[in-house]
Amino acid sequence: MKKIYLDHNATTPIHPDVYAAMLPFLKEDFGNPSSVHWAARNPRKAVDEAREQVAHLFNCDASEIIFTSCGSEGDNLAIKGIVESKKDKGNHIITTKVEHPAVLNTCKYLAKTGFDVTFLDVDSYGMIDIEELKKAITAKTILISIMYANNETGVVFPIEEIGRLAKERNIIFNTDAVQAAGKIPIDVKKLNVDIAVISGHKLYAPKGVGAAYVKRGVRLIPLIHGGHQERNRRGGTENVAGIAALGKACEIAMQDMKEESEKLTILRDRLQKGLAEKIPYTKLNGHPEKRLPNTLNMSFEFVEGESILLNLDMKGIAASSGSACTSGSLEPSHVLVAMGITHEVSHGSVRFSMGRDNTVEDIDYVIEVLPAMVERMRSMSPLYEAKTGKAANVSFSSSDCSH
């Protein structure tokens, strides 16, 4: 069976060069980078190099990079680490309703422990309103945490503008850049962010490694107390192989980003157009332009996204509905709910997220098999029959997707 992977926002395959970069540290170069002897030399060098490579992705100094185990750790470190160090200055946190659970649930947890959290609304495109953010800021606001790009819809937030605002008001600004990393530039100087979090496995490195940019001078309390690693900001012997992999992955991302981005945009638009043309009653979820080049979130009315995913899987096509954390227990996506999308439409949503190995043939295969699948499932839906008689009255139709 043909196997087509269109779930790169969940995780990515390891790039062959990244894989190669890890191997020495799983074999001969096993030393602990903190040791003084010969066995530490290559591991130490690898961690230093990787730190520079990752710093290059952020356009920051290597000393501003903290290696972590994953994106969730990075988000926890950023949020808990900042509020812990700033709690005598205030207790107010601002975030959005559409964050990844790593941010959302961390903030909800903090809300239970006495912090005051504002969860900003989004509009029907999944975009926040800067004026709302301005209004939310109080004298007690110590942290703004807003994602760079949304994992479900790919919507890209106005980070530069938010960063400028946070800087003016002297508030720490963290951005969860997990989905943005490798897909769009993360120039922390231009964006005015204080902290930015990425995860290795979203950019062709393995699972189990991530990094956070923490601007020099920004003090945060560690999540993991322990040894002196990461300048006392994250204890624990370094995951050398993972760190080397992340470094390599960032280097590749920097080299290929422009070209990849153009290619992915073509694939995404081809898929969007192809599906919208061949399948009636579809709707694009998210902003048509301000969006990651690789992400397409589409609703197919009168069918359940879950059923589509299972059927796609039977044909060898991997896609998802919502974030990987929620797949398998398909609650309506909190992101689509926050966008005001009805329960029915959000239930019919599927996320396709393309990556560097995808081809036009892959996309055309989906365009070939999916319409018949949806048609067949709709033919089993009494709702569809009832509604299609009134097709002209339905407020959204396939044409909505083309703008």
């Binding site: 879950e306 299972l310 059927n311 899987d313 227990s329 398909l330 067949r376 499932m377 089993m380």
Partner: protein
């Protein structure tokens, strides 16, 4: 695949017989962590067991989320049925709606030819699809299947119908399934500790008003703290002393009273069944003689059933039966064959 030995073995047998098998688990209920260890079926642990079996069998496996429909069709029904003075049977509803409507539809959406489950029952086809008891008398689950339609039965397989539980366990061992020795689930899955009253109160978020326990002449014998705590035929926990054992003989929702009586008053000569479904026959045109089961573990009573209008049937027992309970199902058999069944609306005394 519930994560139990039966559905695991059913999947393994079908795979062995050369079928192209897909495993599906239904996620029905969000168990709180602390209750997990009691959970009977479909808990996260059970879903993990099912997944491990599917891995072992090397078949695709999916978890489908049916929490919404379960909550509405089974749990809400369960609560409102108690509040209406009935004794609900959530397993019946779960079979009727979750398994053989929603899950069957999911299976058809996946272009499956059949939905197979681990039920102990048999389907045969001659002039129509007929439902037979499983050959293991102690395990027969045909009672839970009386709502099946001809259309549904044309797409259902019960691979364990011809086996005893012992056979199934032996097969499970032969296949090396981790669920081979797993113990049976007994309680209602979403109330794993068996404390229905607590569950109902928690679900409703309110307390239920107390009322009187009376005899059939209206003499007050005691107080009850919520009708939903009582079921027809119940003897224990009434908190009244009358010299001889007293049984719940009726629950009167209008007056909020539990009516008790002597043992002989807890017996009924028959019942009225509603929402009938016929399997062995096309419909009930005239009275016929059947064996009626009035609850899952009931051994059955010889009865005459007659059409009683508006989709109802009158069931007359050959001898009085204890604890005829509105809310449960009555299922009609001729020997091993399920003729049909319905929901018990009221008892005849």
């Amino acid at each position: 695949m519930s994560g139990g030995v039966d559905s695991s073995t059913a999947a393994a047998l079908l795979k062995e017989q050369g079928y192209d098998v897909i495993g599906i688990s239904m996620k029905l209920w969000d168990y709180p962590d602390d209750a997990n260890k009691f959970a009977g079926c479909c808990s996260l642990d059970d879903i993990n067991d099912a997944r491990r079996v599917a891995d072992k069998l090397d078949i695709p496996f999916y978890v489908v989320n049916m929490e919404d429909v379960f909550s509405k069709e089974v749990v809400d029904y369960f609560v409102s049925s108690y509040l209406n003075g009935e004794t609900p049977n959530p397993c019946l509803k779960c079979n009727q709606i979750l398994k053989f409507q929603v899950l069957l539809k999911k299976a058809m959406e996946l272009e499956a030819d059949f939905l197979a489950t681990g039920h102990y029952a048999r389907i045969i086809h001659n002039d129509r699809y007929k439902l037979l008891k499983g050959i293991d008398n102690t395990k027969d689950q045909s009672y839970f299947l009386f709502t099946l339609t001809q259309e549904q039965m044309s797409k259902i397989m019960f691979p364990l119908g011809n086996m005893t539980k012992k056979d199934v366990r032996n097969h499970a061992k032969r296949f090396g399934l981790k669920t081979a020795e797993k113990k049976e689930s007994q309680d209602i899955c979403f109330v794993p500790d068996g404390q229905y009253p607590d569950f109902i109160i928690k679900r409703l978020g309110t307390f239920i008003k107390s009322g009187d326990i009376v005899d059939k002449n209206g003499n007050i014998l005691g107080t009850h703290d919520g009708l939903y705590k009582y079921t027809i035929g119940q003897r224990k926990g009434l908190g009244i002393a009358r010299g001889k054992p007293q049984y719940v003989i009726d629950i009167d929702i209008k007056s909020n009273m539990v009516i008790v009586g002597d043992k002989d008053e807890a017996f009924s000569i028959g019942l009225i069944a509603k929402e009938l479904n016929w399997i062995g026959i096309e419909k009930l045109n005239e009275q016929i003689e059947v064996e009626s089961k009035i609850r899952y573990r009931h051994k059955g009573v010889k009865s005459i059933i007659k059409p009683a209008g508006e989709g109802r049937a009158r069931v007359e027992f050959s001898k009085p039966e204890c604890a005829v309970t509105p809310g449960q199902a009555v299922v009609f058999y001729k020997e091993d064959e399920v003729i049909g069944g319905g929901w018990i609306e009221k008892r005849l005394s």
